[in-house]
């Protein structure tokens, strides 16, 4: 079975400058594979090269070198496009059209028959929550509503692969929850989902695997939890009924002890202190465990660290 997406040393240089054009590398030898049926997060800070990668996959821009394949076919292949859905970042659609007309137009381009088209348009507009505004021109839509129309048009052809560029952008909390639910539904029916985001929580909630891009280079890829497990910077231990002299005796075993009310303390434990031993010592003095959580670095910290030490 071919990969849903495969890139081999995919590279893109843009020419910058007014008089003397010089190349600026937006994407540098990106090689990755997305399996069929998986939800894959493509993460990175702004300007990392995520959108450039998606544009290369859709042949909106042409690669400087390297190659890409979508559903086993080269970018731009019509047969692949028929099985593909795409939501651009901050999408803009023809604002002279109504939501219904836009989806009808795109349904026509996808080769859907008239009856099938009508049914799909109606179902999808209801599904993304704008069924009652279907006859309103898009120029009267809010940013969030346009985003929902964008999601609907990406699903018109019941695609095998959906590429979403920052799908949560412009959505309110309810909208974000709806999109997360939608992506999970797509995964359930076996659809591959490749989405770019710079929001770690979206990726954690949805993805089986992620790739992290920084300054056009792939700095990490794999399961997000696996990647960040190596980056635990300490532990957050919350205990109750701990005596002051016990706290004072902990010395360098804790970085900080902050009272948080109700007789509880939040202790920041460095990685040099095994949390199991500390917990055993505290409970032996009559203290009670409330919670113990690893302190993970943020995605941003992780990026900065990885960019300084390129893979």
């Amino acid at each position: 079975m071919p990969f849903a997406i495969e890139t081999i040393d995919l590279t893109k240089d843009y020419a910058v400058g007014f008089w003397r054009k010089r190349p600026r590398r937006a994407l540098d030898r990106l090689s990755l594979q997305v399996d069929a049926g998986e939800v894959f997060g493509f993460l990175g800070p702004n300007g990392a090269g995520k959108t450039t990668t998606l544009k290369l996959l859709l042949q909106l821009v042409f690669p400087t070198s390297g190659e890409a394949r979508i559903l086993g076919r080269p970018p731009g292949d019509l047969a692949a496009k028929r099985r593909l859905g795409y939501l651009p970042e901050n999408p803009y659609f023809y604002d002279h059209l109504t939501a219904e007309e836009l989806l009808t137009y795109f349904g026509g381009l996808l080769g859907l028959g008239a009856a099938d088209r009508r049914k799909r348009v109606s179902t999808l507009l209801d599904e993304v929550g704008i069924g009652s505004e279907r006859r309103l021109q898009l120029r009267k839509f809010s940013k969030g509503m346009v985003q929902r129309v964008g999601i609907a048009q990406a699903l018109l052809n019941e695609p095998d692969l959906v590429i979403l560029d920052e799908p949560m952008s412009g959505l309110d909390p309810i909208g974000r929850r709806d999109v997360r639910a939608l992506i999970l539904r797509l995964r359930e029916r076996g659809c591959s989902v490749f989405f770019s985001s710079h929001v770690l929580s979206d990726a954690e909630a949805l993805c089986s695997r992620v790739a992290i891009l920084a300054k056009g280079q792939l700095v990490a890829s794999g399961r997000l939890t696996d990647m960040l497990a190596f980056s635990v910077s300490g532990w957050e231990l919350v205990v109750a009924d701990v005596r002051d002299e016990v706290l004072a005796g902990l010395g360098t075993r804790v970085k900080r002890a902050v009272p948080i009310g109700g007789g509880r303390y939040e202790l920041e434990v460095p990685t040099s202190t095994p949390p199991e031993q500390l917990l055993a010592d505290l409970t032996a003095t009559g203290a009670r465990l409330v919670s113990l959580n690893p302190i993970r670095e943020t995605l941003e910290d992780f990026f900065i660290q990885r960019v300084k030490q390129p893979s």
Binding site: Y14, K55, L58, Q59, L60, V61, F62, L78, A79, K81, R82, L84, G85, Y86, P88, N90, P91, Y92, F93, Y94, H96, L97, E101, Y105, F106, G108, L109, L110, G111, G150, Q153
Partner: protein, 268 residues
């Protein structure tokens, strides 16, 4: 073909929902109507003046439309980034260019048809109740079907302008495209003069350059048969076929160039 049809219909819909387009058509119809007033100021030349002014109005307002919509339809797609959603569908890039041209051609045809009907309506009103003597005295009948020949040639001429605008807009900004298109239109009226440059210039290099430019530029003067039609002079079927044929070939070349430029473009 189905894809081209969908893109053309969407382009047509976009144009007819544009308020600027309505304004142009209404203004043109008002000007055609106003030609009645001008006609009254002349002795026995009223219908000639009206036909001349009417056909010129169709040509000038058609030119505004051709340039305005010609440079904007593709560039708007790119600037507003709706092209991303469109090209992600099973559409080839050259189909976008050809479909857009189809939409523009449809828009122009409908608008010119509306203006032509307005011109015939004004002429019918003026000549209504006219006596036999006045009718016999005219070089051409008031509701002369030959005017349609002039209108058809204006339409083909404007389609060349549209294809030129579309071509420029596939690789440059709308303002620059509009400037280049209007420049090409004006130069296109003088391309015959360039062909005769060897009669006024001795430099061999200048003669060759002028000849090359004259063949590159569209030769638009033959599409203007207004004065022949107004004075009742014949415009033969052979002339029509040759001129239209030239227009079709020129449009075809421009569309191939536009599609090629568009197919290689990065949409950053």
């Amino acid at each position: 073909m189905r894809t081209l049809g969908w893109i053309a219909i969407n382009g047509f819909r976009e144009s007819v929902r544009d308020k600027v387009m309505y304004s142009l058509v209404v203004f043109a119809i008002l000007l055609i109507g106003a030609s009645y007033m001008l006609g009254q100021l002349t002795a026995g030349q009223d219908l000639k003046i009206m036909k001349d002014l009417g056909l010129s109005s169709i040509s000038i307002f058609g030119l505004f439309m051709a340039v305005f919509i010609g440079v904007s339809l593709v560039s708007k797609e790119v600037e507003r980034r709706s092209i991303y959603g469109l090209l992600a569908k099973p559409v080839r890039r050259h189909e976008v260019v050809l479909g857009k041209f189809g939409g523009l051609a449809l828009t122009l045809t409908v608008n010119i048809a509306v203006m032509t009907v307005a011109l015939y309506a004004v002429l019918a009103y003026v000549s209504w109740g006219e006596n036999e003597f006045a009718r016999q005295a005219r070089e051409a009948p008031a509701l002369d079907p030959a005017m349609l020949k002039a209108v058809v040639l204006i339409l083909v001429q404007l389609l060349i302008v549209t294809a030129t605008a579309l071509f420029f807009s596939t690789f440059s900004t709308p303002i620059l495209s509009a400037g280049l298109t209007v420049g090409t239109f004006i130069a296109g009226y003088f391309s015959q003069d360039l062909r005769n440059f060897d009669q006024v210039v001795n430099s061999k290099a200048a003669q060759v350059l002028a000849r090359v430019i004259s063949y590159v530029l569209p030769n638009l003067a033959p599409f203007d048969v207004t004065s022949q039609v107004v004075h009742g002079l014949p415009v033969t079927a052979g002339y029509m076929a040759t001129t239209i044929g030239y227009g079709v070939v020129y449009i075809g070349i421009l569309l191939v160039l536009a599609a090629t430029a568009f197919s290689r473009r990065d949409f950053k």
